[in-house]
Amino acid sequence: MLLMILSCVLLNCSAHVGNRRLDSNDDTEDVSLFDAEEETTNRPRKSKIRHPVASFFHLFFRVSAIVVYLLCELLSSSFITCMVTIILLLSCDFWAVKNVTGRLMVGLRWWNHIDEDGKSHWVFESRKESSQENKTVSEAESRIFWLGLIACPVLWVIFAFSALFSFRVKWLAVVIMGVVLQGANLYGYIRCKVGSRKNLTSMATSYFGKQFLRQNTGDDQTS
């Protein structure tokens, strides 16, 4: 338990330090040893990982929760220990992804706001593309973030079905908790990404509409 809190604090500290360290990284990248070729004026800045600690913890909690779930029989004979460990890992992962790694790695955040009348609103925000270079999202981090965010809830859903159909019902509580917590983060970040004005159905319609049109005009040109 102490280990979890320590790692969350470490994550927090590195998050604050990482923002300040950014400027020194940018300075060293400006130096190039050879004459820059014409094609590579676009420096490979975006593929650099800016927040290594955040990226590590983003994946660490999720993957270790899944690993503990799969290896519980081998690791410890006590069901309780495994269950409590998985619950702790899932909670730390939820907090870390919602409050730290999403903001640092892809610049998105979401929360619940209760106003004066007691009405609750869910707010989804995404960071505007500012003119400062060091605030843009790096490709590698974005890929790591979305990969971890999407793959793990899918795995937990698979575990839920397998627990249900193989009648290992005592695990069902933990698995459902995994699905709910990680699914909540996934849903929140997808809504942030899509934006508050459009909703998912209109995005999907416009996307498929474009595909359809492209296919049709392509057919016209070939025939």
């Binding site: 927090n12 269950m83 929360w111 706001h113």
Partner: protein, 193 residues
Amino acid sequence: MAEAEESPGDPGTASPRPLMRDLKAVGKKFMHVLYPRKSNTLLRDWDLWGPLILCVTLALMLQRDSVDSEKDGGPQFAEVFVIVWFGAVTITLNSKLLGGNISFFQSLCVLGYCILPLTVAMLICRLVLLADPGPVNFMVRLFVVIVMFAWSIVASTAFLADSQPPNRRALAVYPVFLFYFVISWMILTFTPQ
């Protein structure tokens, strides 16, 4: 377990949320449960970390120390979890259907935090059970559980009752009474074998 955030701020900054602030908020809510007053803290800045901690603690303490490894205490652990969360969700749905103007997570937050007195009762009962069993032992535990049960009810109705229309208050409070009664029953009838 999303938390309510205080200030939207400038989306351009989007700095990570400090851990200390969340921990202090959880501690503050525990204090509010122990000394129930008319205040909005549990409702406005709700979070579900406290209920999770309390639920896990209660489930761990309600384990029987059985040497037998196949009856590993697993089902009882999951049972406590299911009773607490399913019960809280049902009460929330009930109060929403009765026309209450409290949100789903706020109600879960209040019900979860108000399990604190019963968790303290469980701790005391486990300590009392280290002494020799007998009628005195049982009377002490009964007294402690009744006091803590009353405390939980008072704390939760102080927060929840206002959100209901006046003629429906009894209907909304009765399931809360039942919920804490079931948990108190589990605590009172606990015997480590």
